[in-house]
Each structure stands twice: as structure tokens, then as C-alpha cells.
Amino acid sequence: MRVTQNLSQLNFVSALNTLEANVAQTQNQISTNLSFTTPSQNPVAAGAVNNYDQALAQSKQYDTNANSAQTSLSTEDSTLSQVQTSLQSLRDIALEANSGALSDSDRAGLAAQATQIQAGLVSLANTQDGNGQYIFGGFATQTQPFSQSAAGSVTYNGDQGQRQAQIAPGQYVAVADNGDAVFNQIKTGNGTFTATAGAGNTGAGVLGATTVSNPAAYDGKPFSIQFAAVPATGTVANTYNIVNAAGVTVSSGAYTGATNGQAIAWDGLQVTLSGQPAIGDSFSVAPSTNQSVFTTVQNLITALQGSGTTSASNAQLSNSIAGAVNNIDQALNQSSNVRAGVGARLNSITAQLSVSSSQQIQLQTSISSLQSLDYASAITKLDEQTTTLQASMQAYTITEGLSLFKYLPSS
């Protein structure tokens, strides 16, 4: 094949262009620390890196969400812990008032203390977070959730909403509990039923512990425990009758608990009574309903403000306070349950944060394995490429100097 000087020149220039472009690309890779700078250099990796970048950013956003949820839940937890302290103080006040050695004025003092604590409770229920949002308002975070009337009754103005945060793909965690669930939806009595003394009782019968001995046997209906004398001419209430809502006596027996107390059981329920009720006195047993903790406290205050000068009024007072203590115990239970829930959510957030941090490391490793440059091989490549470039330049200068004209006779 004939090779012309023109062709050698063309070939050399085009080879030079290619070689210099290669050197420039390798140099660019080294200076950016990227194994590819445009998608065409590695299309699949470019798409994958974009996916990983997205996943990484998303995971970091989930962490942000989780941290924000942690803050909210910690605020709720510490608020609930203060609520428990308040309820415990109220319980102590009630027990002290029920010790029987106090005068009316002593109890009035306790009532004043209880009123203070109640105001504190309302203010805890209206706790705001760092952004001025009410934490117990449900979705209505800008409305004060609990308002107290002049008469002391407390109304809930929030809703049933429960705000959530996404802390992982498909994983949501509630960042609050609404005030209704925390403060209002509290069962009365022992949680299943509640026993109360009749308002017109004149005897000294006092309610003690109430239990459900056999939940399956209790049909959830109200009953009344009525005291009578047998024979009817007697002057002491020595017999009790359990009367159902339809007025039918379902159980009856002798009452002998005036001194040491007596457990009366029927239909899976058990109520302990002590003291001597009067003939015609009654105690009602009703299924538990929901009662706000504020109502419970209000009832306690009202009871404390009552007079306890006679055995009958002492018994009334005692029954009211005991009922209040039962309800306060339920409220304590409720806040413990809510706190347990909060704690569980905090745990799951902590667990997720540690999972996501290892995921992020994994993603970063994947990104860098696709995208980061292998310096050793890149520098070796650059060395090769520059050597080739130098060699080809040198070869050109050698061959370019070859010309027959140099040897033509000069004359």
C-alpha cells in the first residue's frame, strides 16, 4: 500500500486528538474523584447512583422525622410524669382525708390543696410544645384543648386526631396522644363496675374493695344492694337483697359485717361492705363508664368540702372519698398505660434510627463503589496514556524527518 506524507500527517493528528482526549478524561476523573462524569460513561451505574442518592436523602429525611417525633414524645412523657405526680398527691390527700381523725376545717384545707392541684392538672393538660402547639389537642393543636368553667368543670375542645410521623418506608409512629384519650376516657370504679352508696343512706355502711371474681358470669347490668331487717319487725338491718334493674331479687343473705366487714358476692361480682347500714339503705352497682380525671378531682373536692360530723355523714364522706380514690387509681393507670405506649414508640424510634444509620452507611458504600474513582488504576491508566502519547509524538518526529529530497544532489 502506498503511504503518502499527507496521510501520515492526517493519521498522526487524528491519533493525537484521540490520545489527548483520553488523557484529558482520565485527568478529569482524577481531579473530580469520579469514575464517570457523564451518564454515557457508565449508564447503568449513573441510574443506580441516582436511585441510591434518592434513597440516602430519603433515609436522612426519615431521621429528621424521627428526631422530631422523639422531641414531641419526650415532651409528652415528661408532661405525663408530672400528671402522675399530681394524681399521686391527690390520692395522698384523699387517703389522709379518709383517715377519720380530721375535722371539717382540716378537710377544707385539703380541699383547697386539691383545688390547686386540679388547676395544675388543667395546665399540664394544656401543655404547649416549643412551637406553641398544644400537645394534647389531637389535630386541633392551635386550640386550647381544656377549658375550665367558673364552677370548676373542665371541657375538652380538641379532637380525636393523633398526629403521626413517618420514620421508615411504610413505618409510621404516633407523635402525640389526644387529650380525650389521656384525660377523659377513663373508666370509673374498678374498671368493670362501680359501687356507690345511696344518697339517702342514713346508716354507717361503708364500701370497701370491689372485685370481679368471675368476669364471664357478670352480664354488665346494674344492681342494687338493699338492706332490710328480717323479720321485718327487727330494728337492725341484718339482711341484704341484690335486686336487678327489673326489681327482681337475684340473691340475698344475712349481713354480719358490721364490725369486721363482709364480702357480698353474686353473678361473678364481689363487693365488700363494713359498718352497720340502716334499714332501707342501698348501694348501687353499675357498669363502669368513662369519666374525665377533672370530674374525678372535682368530685373529690366536693366531698372534702362536705361535713362529717355524724356517723351517717362520716360514712357518706368515706364512701365518696373511697370512690374518688378508685377513680384516681384508674386515672393513674391510664396515664401509666399512655406513658408505656409513648415509651414503646420512643424505643421503636431509637431502634429505627440505628437501623437507618447502618442503611445509610450501606448506601454510601454502594454509591462510592459505583461512583468513586479507583485511584491506583486511574493513575496507572494516566501513566499508560501519557507514555503512549509521548511515544507517538517521538515516532512522528522520527518518521517526519525522513525525506528523499535530503539526499538529492545539491548542484
Binding site: 454515557s40 441510574g47 441516582n50 412551637n131 402547639q133 392551635q142
Partner: protein, 636 residues
Amino acid sequence: MSDVFGISVGALQAFQSAIDVTSNNIANANTPGYAKEAVDLTAAAPQSNGVLSVGNGVVVSGISRSFNQATANQLNSSQSSLGNLNALQNYSSQIDNLVGTTAGGLSTALQSFYSAWSDVANAPTSTATRQALLGKAQSVANSFQSTSTQLDALNSDINSRITSDVQQINTLGSSISTLNKQIVISTAQNGGQAPNELIDQRDQLVSNLSSLTGISTTTESNGSLNVFLGNGQPLVLQGATTTLTTIPNQFDASQLEISTSTSNGNPISSSITSGDLGGLLAARSQVVDPAKNQLGQIATAFAQSVNQQQNAGLDLNGNLGANLFSVSTPSATASSKNTSSVSATASVANVGALTTKDYVLTYKGGAYSLTNAADGTAVPFTGLGTAGSPITADGLSIVLSGTPASGDQFLIKPTADVAGTLAVQLTNPTQLAAAGAVQATPAGGNTGTATITSGTVVNATNPSLLNTATITFASPTSYSINGGASIPYSAGATIPPVGGTPQYGWQVQISGTPAAGDTFTVQKNSGGTGDNRNALLGANQQSLPILLNGTVSVSGAVSSLITGIGSQAQQINTAQTAQTAVNTQAVANQQSVSGVNLDEEAANLLQWQQAYQASAKALQIGSSLFQSLLTAVQSA
């Protein structure tokens, strides 16, 4: 005795010519298109003295050019392919760079946008996080717009290069026809001897033409050359030329098509598949427009899904959310050749079914047909094109304003313009709908253990959505809504039952055991400014597969856009590299035949110099012979 003078002088003249040709070769060693020339030496006809026939020296019978038509044709066709790939590669690498930089930016903007929804979910009442979200929405719109603008810039660059290519082709065509005429005249004047320099020039013009568009040539007996375009359409016929023109596309005046002075205004673009011009047309149809469509598809899916989520929630003012983005509808343009004034309107009926294709809707013989604009394959559709029965295909819904004339055509571009026109419509951060639209609550006096979910919106356009609805349990196993028909209940049931009537636009789940008389209320989420349910759903859309029939998420689609464009660019780069090698070989072959090798010319120079010197010596010897004779005669 006179022969030696005649022969020597003739030889001196012949070798003088040979030295002239050689020095001409040396002079044109670097002239493009120059073919190496050589003197054709022939022994002169012998003279007879009656007894012997004695040779009569040498004559120059012609000067021939070293040229091989097959090699030249091979080079021209290789240059056409290379021109084509060079143009394609130019645009594909620009888009490759564009995607590497701005689509990366688009990805980041999308990610930040979804993260901003999460931030709003973390603090729904904060105006600051909402303002940040609006800002991120603006960056997404900007990213889509700037990518689209750059693609548009490539398209207008393609248009201007098409115009300049067409001008160059016309200039080359007319120069070739002029040379044809000159060559015919010159050949006749020189007694059939072809004018090599003119032919060199013409071959060089043909070679230049071949890198602009694919051509084929034939040579007439009178020496003139005919040039045909790739489809066989004549460009130069002896001394006559056909002129190429640019015309606007019948559907889109911003796209130039190629036409000729003899094609009655019909485009011939589809037959130009080679050379720079073919490469420009291919870059438009295979690289730029598909990228724009794909980008638009992502923009449509993104903006529509965001808007739908907005519509399903309540903003801080307690109103159902307004659209966050304004999204342009698919473009439907009537052909400039339509004879009726019927217009078409297209809308997106199903984002998931949208493709990146463009469609041509043709009305002919009383019926519509829908074809893929790129390859003309039929696309199945339903409907009659009326408002009551729109033509529905691939997620599109097309309505025509009347009955078109037979032969009327419409081009439907579902997504091409969307990315470039995407804009943020909301300005007030309070208008972002972070809260769920409805909220379900149990009545305070319920005695059962049933609980209700807070409620989700399934159809934001249902007029009953925000009306208060009451679910009342007549027994633990049946309920009614707003006093309607009794519906059986089982724990965990979706209410109202999916597919049942009436629907209210929301759904709730009730679980547990309700007691007879228990009621639940579903109502507008008034005052629920701290609610973040809709914001959570907004943030979650990032990984929601909404494109391609629910298989690909918005960010996934950006990744496949990057991979797709990268692969295409890689493939074109590879093809270009291979074609460059082919072309280098073709150039080498052509140079091997026609190129000037200076060493060869130096050797020739020496050869002719020696021959010239020898002839001169012969002349001198002849002269001394003649002198000897004269001397002999004088002395006698």
C-alpha cells in the same frame, strides 16, 4: 543524421513535461481532492528508409490522473455515515452532559421537595416550613423548565444547521453543474483530453457533498456527472440542478423539514438518512424529542400526583387544597393541510398509562385512525371523538370540536410541552393542604369497644366529602350511614363498603365490637390545623409508583431517564468511533491510489533528470558527429 536531433529534442521536451508534471504533483501534495498525475510516454511512430524501420523517439500522449472511482465511492459513502454519526453524536453528547448535570439537579430538587413535605408534616402549622415547601416546589419547576429550555435550544440549533446544510448542498450542487458544463466544453476543445484539474475539483465537491448528505453518482459519456440524493431524487443532472428548500412541519412550524423544488411542497425529510443533514434529522427525532417527551412524562406524573394530593386535603384556612402546580394539557395540533377548521383537544385521563410517544390522528373515510407518529404503527383506541365519547388511548382523552373533513390529520403530543411550562400556582404558604379533609370521631356516649380510624379521602371530587355523616349502629352487626340502608358490619370493615352506593368520597375502618346505638361521626376536619395526614401522604409520593401503569416512581423515572440517555449516547459514541476507523481506512485507500508521495516524486525527478541529461548528451554526440563530418569534408 537529422534523426538524432529530432529524437533528442522530442525526448528533451517529453522529459521536460514529465519534470513539470512531477513538480506539479509536489506542489499539490497537500491540495484537497488533487489526484496524482503522470505523463503517458509513448514511443513515436517509426520512420522507414525503405529498408529499415527506425524508431522516432518519444512523445507525450497524455497526462493521466491516478484515480479509482470505486475507492472514491467507498470514501464518499463512508463520509456520509460519519457525517451522520458526527451530527448525532454532537447532540447526544450534549444531552448526555445536560442529563449528567441538570437532571442530577432535577433529582435533587425532587428529593428536596418531598423532604419539605416531611418537614411540613413534622410542623404542620409552621409557616416557615410551608414557605420552604413552596420554595422547593419552585426549584422543581425551574429544574424541569431549564432542562426543557436547553432541549429547545438544541432543537433550534438543529433548525439553523439544517438551513445552513441545505444552503451548502444547493451551492455544491450548482458548482458541480457549472463544472460539468466546463468539463464538457474543455474536453471538446482539447480533443477529448479531459481537464484533470476541473475533474479533481468536481470530485472534491462531490466528496464535500457526501459528508452533508448521502449521495450516489453516475458519469455521462460526455464526462459530466449526475448526482442523486439517497432516495434516488436527482440533485444534479448534467448542467441542471434541483434546489433543496426548508419548509415548516405541517403540525409544528418550529420544526424544519426538507423539501425540493420539484416535490410540490411535500417533505422528503424521511428519505434523508445519511450525512450531516440526516444526522441532524435523526438527532431531532431520536435524541432530542424523545428526551423532551420523557421529561414531560415525568413532569406530568409528578405535578398531577402532587395536585391530586393537594385537592384531597385541607389547607390552613380550612379549604380543600388548590392545585400547587399548573400543568399544561397535551398539545393537539391540526395539520396545516387540513381542509376543515375542526380542532382537537387532548387531556390526560390516566397518568399511569401515558407513554412518551407522539400520535397522529387521521380522519379518513368516515372513521378515525390513530398511529404512532414515529413509526406509523396503529394504536388501538376506543371512542368516537365526541365530548360524550372521547377517543381514549394510552391514558389520553381526545375530543374534536366537530366532524373533520376526510384526510384531516392532528398531531397529539401528550407530554412534550409539559416540562417547559410547569409552574407553581400557589403563592400563599397557608394554601398548602397538610391536613386530612375529614375526621372521624366516636360519640362520647358510645358503650361498645369499637374504634374508628381518622378517615382517608378516596375521591376528593365527591360533593358529599365535607358534609357531616353519621354512622349509627342499630346492632353490633349492622349499621347505617345518615339513616340510609342497613349495612352488615364485621370488625375491621371498610365503611362505606368499596363499590357500594352511595359513596361519600371518604373511607373509614371501624374495628372492635360496637354496642347497639353507638354512633360515629365523619365530618370536615375543621380546626384540625395540627393534622399532618395529607402532608405525610404528600411526602410518601416520592416512592409511590405512579408512572408506567403503576410500576415506576417519579424518582425512579428520573433514574431511568439518566440511564436511557447515557446508554444512547454510549451507543452513538461507539458507532462513531467505529465509523471513524472505517473512514480512516477509506481515506488511506483513496490516498493510496491518488495521493502524492514526495519520496516517489523525488525519485521520479531524478529519473527524469537523468533521462533529460542523457537526451542532451545524445544531442551533443549528434552534434559532434555532424562536426566530424564537416571537418572531414573541409580537409578533403
